[in-house]
């Protein structure tokens, strides 16, 4: 190919084959690890399947059961409650941190520190907080007692579990979210702020009038990613509360897992997974449209 003559080069070269070669690894991975399991999961949702004996087709039985299952509806409610607390706090905090990283400091190590919780695995973070918040021995409750408050059963009281789990995950993910937003802030030209300062705008006005509007597409993307991730909360629940007390932290993913691997009802678990898939598609679509994620005001 290096020997191509100038005349030949002028003709538009057909690079389909090269393109296929480059796309193939991702495409194969996508088909084998994403599309195929999804299709199979949808198929299994119409069967009775315990994974060890062949699936039996049972039509819409699993879906009928799902609609009538109060634990399913409760788990959906609990999940939404978690997502609302988790996303609202996380996004607000991340935005604040990102703006401070942008406007107040240029130090790499300081920016790096913000990301460190994200380097801790979910399970480890959950375990550490489980110990910190332990009712009897946790240092968190010792601190509460020292400042004269009553001890709180953070992970054993039905009113506290979901806010606590949401906060644990905010702690872990806020740095990463801040970094994404920070990257978005970098795309806003410094000249706009200079113009703002010349016009005598305060930092707060500039944040509201320049930063937020221009950040919208990035924020929309960040929200879509974090909301989808938030709906799939599992490991923190599995480590800290196992769905309890009673059903107060039985989020959908945990219920699905327990149904499949604890009760061997893979058909029903698949049906609930499909329901989660539908919920996520709808929410993502709405977010995309409402935030006009595909348009930027910078152009």
């Amino acid at each position: 190919m290096a020997t191509a003559t100038p005349e030949l080069r002028r003709k538009p070269k057909d690079d389909t084959r090269l393109a296929i070669l480059f796309i193939a690894p991702a495409l194969v991975g996508f088909l084998v690890f994403m599309i195929w399991p999804t299709l199979r999961g949808i198929y299994l949702s119409f069967t009775k399947f315990n994974l060890l004996t062949p699936p039996e087709f049972n039509g819409f039985d699993n879906y009928v059961r799902m609609v009538q299952d109060p634990v399913f509806w409760n788990s959906l409610k609990v999940t939404v409650y978690y997502v609302v607390i988790n996303i609202a706090l996380q996004t607000a905090l991340a935005l604040g941190i990102a703006v401070m990283m942008q406007r107040l400091t240029k130090r790499t190590w300081l920016r790096g520190i913000v990301l460190t919780p994200y380097l801790v695995s979910n399970v480890v973070a959950a375990l550490v907080f489980l110990w910190i918040l332990d009712y009897q021995l946790g240092i968190g409750n010792k601190v509460l007692e020292m400042i004269g408050m009553d001890r709180i059963a953070f992970l054993a009281d039905s009113n506290w579990v979901i806010p606590t789990i949401a906060l644990i995950n905010v702690w872990r993910h806020v740095g990463y979210t801040a970094l994404l937003i920070f990257a978005g802030l970098q795309t806003i030209p410094e000249t706009l702020y200079e113009a703002g300062r010349t016009d005598g705008a305060s930092e707060i006005t500039m944040f509201r009038r320049i930063t937020l509007p221009l950040l919208r597409p990035i924020l929309a993307l960040v929200l879509i990613i974090t909301v989808v991730g938030s709906f799939q909360v599992f490991d923190t629940v599995a480590v800290t509360t196992r769905g309890g007390p009673v059903d107060s932290s039985r989020v959908l993913q945990y219920y699905i897992y327990d149904m499949a691997f604890g009760r061997f009802q893979f058909g029903y678990a698949s049906a609930m997974s499909v329901a989660l898939l539908v919920v996520l598609i709808v929410i993502t679509f709405l977010q995309y449209r409402l935030t006009r994620a595909e348009q930027s005001d910078l152009a």
């Binding site: 193939a24 009897q136 309890g244 007390p245």
Partner: protein, 457 residues
């Protein structure tokens, strides 16, 4: 191009397979029998058995893996699905029916080495529990356990209670009897006021009279309320094993539980939140930390309790008393046993059966008895365990063994649909313990459990 694409595809696939393969345990074969157990305390004893087995069977080797209780069952399930399950594993009565339903256990009668296992060689009733509804044997008995009350002698001395009187305690669902009196007296609030004295602050308790092992939704209240419901004459199902109806709607059960969880409301027993919710600190830790003066627990915890130390590292004194006498005029304890099962995935079922046979035999059970961790299923092994505790630990374990001798035990309820029962029961029992739901709500649970028989897989 096509071949390059194919090569790429196969490289991706190989990479994919390699990933799952790397996680698999040692490949079966080559005369190595994979054996799993969950109790780390028993591993040294069974290692001795494995060494003796290898000496008797040249060419065969046993590789033992130990995983904690929760991990154990999820790993085992994953193993059945991914074909990485062990040849032989320690099985539990609460789980084995499900495994029979899932067709992952091999009937021991069909394997020559274990075909001649004799029920009469073991403590009465143990071997029969391991027969499926098809009448086939799916587990060879290895040990048994009962429940008793561990106590902190120092706390009893402070309260002026003579440990020798604990064996005479009685309880009833109306006023709790002498048992509740002792528990109340052993409860001390932050101001040093005892549970049975004027001005006791139940919301600020320093030491509870009786510890708690949770709501008991996971094993029919084995280490929680089963000794009370048992001594009230109540049975979980209409017959055992393989009951056809649950009895959670009966007054004997509901009255007992109302009284039992009432101990937590009165401040004599820690609450659900105080023991850590779904990640509870066990009764041993509660006694160790001084949170509880007494606590019910199983005989498998003897070595744990006797190994407890205080903050300075000194060994804690521990005493054992039998479960209290109930309205029936007798005491009671659940009688549970473990067994070894051969998986249907085993590539060497006959070798696996040889190992199972060896573990259920006299030689291995005597080795286990002499290690003093559990009571072996054979009476001779049981005697060795009693002797070990008496001579080496200076501990009287007859509160556990007398239940068997006096025939005051009832067998662990063996039913089908065990996983569904657990999933339905645990949250509902937790709700009753917390106080979110009344004990009468368990009648609804009972209907749900009975419905499981209708939709049986």
């Amino acid at each position: 191009m096509r071949t390059r694409l194919a090569a790429l595809l196969s490289a991706v696939l190989v990479a994919g397979c390699g990933w799952s393969g790397a996680d698999a345990p040692t490949e079966a074969g080559g005369g190595t029998i994979e054996y799993w157990l969950w109790d780390s305390g028993q591993q040294p004893g069974y290692q001795k058995c494995a060494d003796a087995f290898a000496k008797e069977n040249p060419g065969l080797r046993v590789h033992i893996s130990q995983y904690g209780w929760d991990t154990y069952w999820s790993k085992l399930t994953a193993g059945f699905i991914a074909d990485t399950a062990p040849d032989v594993f320690t099985d539990h009565l609460a789980k084995f029916a499900q495994f029979v339903d899932l067709n992952v256990l091999r009937p021991l009668d069909d394997l020559p080495p274990t075909a001649d296992i004799n029920d009469g060689d073991y403590q009465e009733g143990l071997a029969e529990l391991w027969k499926g509804q098809d009448g086939k044997r799916y587990g060879a008995p290895k040990d048994w356990d009962t429940i008793a009350m561990f106590y902190d002698p120092a706390a009893l001395e402070d309260a002026g209670i003579d440990p020798a009187t604990l064996k005479d305690l009685t309880w009833n669902p109306q006023d709790g009897g002498t048992f509740e009196k002792a528990v109340a007296h052993l409860t001390v609030d932050a101001n040093g006021i005892r549970g049975d004295e004027q001005g006791f602050d139940k919301n600020n308790v320093r030491q509870y009279g009786i510890g708690s092992d949770g709501a008991g939704g996971g094993g029919w209240g084995q280490t929680q309320w089963s000794n009370f419901t048992g001594s009230a004459g109540w049975q979980v199902t209409d017959r055992n094993p393989w009951g056809t109806r649950f009895n959670l709607d009966q007054p004997a059960f509901q009255d007992t539980l109302t009284w039992y969880f009432g101990l937590a409301r009165k401040g004599y027993m820690p609450s659900f939140a105080e023991i850590g919710g779904n990640n509870p600190v066990g009764p041993d830790k509660q006694i160790q930390s001084g949170l509880a003066a007494m606590a019910f627990d199983g005989s498998w915890k003897i070595s744990t309790f006797t190994g407890l130390t205080d903050t300075a590292g000194n060994k804690l004194e521990i005493g054992i008393a039998p479960t209290p006498i109930g309205p029936t005029g007798k005491r009671a304890s659940m009688f549970n046993g473990l067994a070894d099962s051969v998986t249907s995935l085993s590539k060497q079922p006959e070798n696996a059966a040889k190992w199972v046979k060896f573990m259920s035999g006299e030689e291995c059970q005597n080795i286990i008895g002499e290690s003093g961790v559990v009571f072996p299923a054979r009476p001779a092994g049981t005697e060795k365990a009693i002797a070990f505790n008496r001579d080496e630990r200076k501990l009287d374990v007859t509160p556990f063994t007398d239940q068997v001798k006096d025939k005051t035990t009832f067998l662990f309820p063996v039913t089908s649909n065990a996983a569904d029962i657990l999933a339905l029961m645990q949250p509902r029992m937790d709700a009753v313990y917390i106080g979110d739901a009344p004990v009468s709500s368990l009648s609804t649970l009972n209907d749900q459990l009975n419905d499981l028989f209708k939709v049986a897989q």
